[in-house]
Symmetry: none
Subunit: 404 residues, 2 copies
């Protein structure tokens, strides 16, 4: 079902919808026959909500596919994550909360070390401290060449997000990063004529950066840059025009704020970086939006660190704050994840994600438990993550009848 | 999976299939935690059949999509309901059992009142009595202009189905109905060159109708007509050519008879309009067809009226007559619906529809209950409604192996 079809059925309504995304929610037991992180967690509030909900397991990008956070989020937001791919360069820029625009061309950047012959001796410039990296980024930021503006935004240690902004820039560019030491950086090449201007200017920027870095006191370690993964934001239809939703995003980390902005959500300001601050923003802004996306990062951080008890605690923290949401009397609530991150795998995984859909007009399964196996018995079945949003819109009475 | 692929696998067989469609079957509980209409109904025969069946929940047109009866039926008949859309004009003609042909152009019509200046003062001509409407329709029916024949078929009160039949008629026409009083009717305009002839003739018919109506005694109220929703039947491959099935339809209401005719079913004559008359037609014609579609209207009528107990009774009535079918020893039986119509919503809805698939070679789930939550546990899972027909054909040993 395509988005244009959904758009043709979108109805205005006064209903309020909330989507709580616990990043990397799905898990695995520590031992065969054991419980997952979510099944282990003590979650009386989620269980009570589950009893009034339809349950299911969402498949973010396709069977067996382990999605990154970009495709995982686009899917749960209702988009086909394979058709609308967010590349690594764009994600890096979103990740530092950079206001990436559709016309910008982005890439991942490294500070690196080259020798007198121009050969890369360390692709990471000795993992230089983030403070130094930030200082060097300041040196390079704001360079303009032929009316094109360049941005260098520190990520961590030697890593930065690189963005070019100006008219007529294509993103079909090759990496300068040779992906190994012992050889010189590669020239930026255009893969199509429309990217030739961008190739030329990126090349000039790389040269200029090398000159500035070499003249800087920190230049003995970081005297050149490497760029890889050039791309731009995909163009996706926005929540406002698609569904008539005034949508708000509540997230601490830049990447999630960026993906939310990409689909047309207003990113809310937070008083702090705790989960309580996020729920507090939900309460404060409740009257001003129709749809709220609230992102929980700790579940994924713990999963990726292999910290099973930490992930259990992160889920319990969400459960403890859930009454802040239910007290607002939402019409529709989605609780799910963008992908699985089982602690035993210490990484994202391909496993379907437990999902709960609550609403006055949801046909509840009567299963009073929120967990992987409980969701496997639910009436949503195993469904593509992108199908959750249309069902939730229907439950919020925001979709008209199709045909007579 | 497309129909051409299925067609390439269709096998002749002597098996008999029956599909009982309870219109708007799926429901919701009256109160959170309660039972749906189907779960409330006392259905010993359906429950016994369920025990020998595979169960599942069908999604008619897509996740979250509330289908009209047209798309709902096309889906359960095995067609993609979004690709094969039946427009409002064509449905209106089917609804009065008009034998609409592929080349016909149809629209919805109203008798209306215009003042001396030609301004619409009442779009419904005071909701004139159906008998008067029928008399006026007789006045206009059979008008011929330039070799094109016009049909005016009463629906109810001021409403009628309008059909143009003749060579070279396109359906890309604008409404004459201004959808408000206080302004004159609009001219019919062609949206593409192939519809210009139809636009011109429809316009002449509207003028001629106005003259005839003004000269009639009832013409003080109904002195003009308004047309809207011009379209034609979609062209769909027929059951005979697709599956090699001699298919029969048993339905009281015109619309369902019309959609059945559209897919190539023979519409059977009935001795009366009760459900017993429908099952009686099934018995009488059992030897002459391979596939029977039997439509039950009351479930939807009750659902749309918000009559929960009425819908329960309508389901129980089907249950009581089910032995008429099972006594015929059918090879495959499908019991399901074209969409949900929960009494609490008083309308069609997007909820998946409980479905039962019985047959000698069906892998039965052993769930001795026919209801929404029982079906959510069934082995058919949550599946697109259009996938039921291929599975049923296989169960009837009517599909050959694919590949070696």
């Amino acid at each position: 079902m395509d988005l244009e079809f959904l758009q043709s059925l979108a109805l205005p309504a006064h209903t309020k919808m909330a989507m709580i995304i616990m990043d990397g929610l799905g898990g695995l037991p520590l031992e065969a026959g054991g419980k997952t992180e979510l099944e282990t967690a003590h979650t009386p509030n989620l269980d009570a909500l589950a009893a009034q909900s339809a349950l299911g397991l969402t498949v973010p990008a396709g069977p067996g596919i382990t999605p990154g956070s970009g495709p995982g989020h686009l899917a749960i937001f209702g988009y086909d994550p394979i058709r609308h791919e967010i590349g690594r360069g764009a994600l890096e820029a979103l990740g530092v909360d950079f206001d990436l625009r559709p016309e910008d061309v982005a890439a991942r950047g490294n500070f690196c070390t080259v020798d007198a012959m121009g050969v890369v001796t360390d692709r990471r410039a000795g993992r230089l401290p983030t403070e130094v990296s930030r200082e060097l980024a300041g040196l390079l930021r704001g360079i303009q060449i032929d009316g094109v503006e360049f941005f260098v935004e520190t990520v961590k240690e030697h890593r930065f997000a690189f963005v070019m902004r100006g008219p007529g820039l294509g993103e079909a560019l090759t990496d300068t990063d040779p992906h190994q030491a012992g050889v010189p950086p590669l020239p930026v090449r255009a893969l199509e004529p429309a990217s030739e201007k961008a190739a030329r200017l990126a090349g000039r920027f790389v040269d200029r950066a090398g000159e500035l870095l070499a003249a800087h006191p920190a230049g003995h370690a970081a005297n050149a840059i490497l760029l890889r993964g050039f791309d731009r934001l995909p163009s996706v239809p926005k929540y406002g025009e698609l569904f008539g939703l005034r949508a708000a995003a509540i997230a601490v980390n830049g990447m999630y704020r960026g993906v939310a902005r990409l689909v047309g959500m207003t990113v809310l300001d937070l008083d702090g970086v705790t989960l309580a601050d996020e729920f507090s923003a939900l309460e404060k802004n409740w009257d001003d939006f129709d749809f709220f996306y609230l992102h929980v990062k700790k579940t994924d951080t713990a999963g990726e660190s292999g910290d099973f008890p930490g992930k259990v605690r992160a889920i319990e923290e969400v459960d403890a704050l859930l009454p802040c949401l239910t007290a607002l009397n939402p019409d529709v609530v989605i609780v799910g994840g963008d992908h699985s991150s089982p602690a035993v795998l210490k990484s994202h995984s391909w496993h379907p994600v437990p999902t709960l859909l609550y609403g006055k007009y949801v046909r509840a399964d009567g299963i009073a438990e929120f967990g992987e196996r409980a969701c496997a018995r639910g009436s949503l079945g195993v469904l593509p993550a992108k199908d959750v949003m249309p069902i939730a819109l229907a439950d919020a009475q925001r979709l008209a009848k199709f045909g007579a």
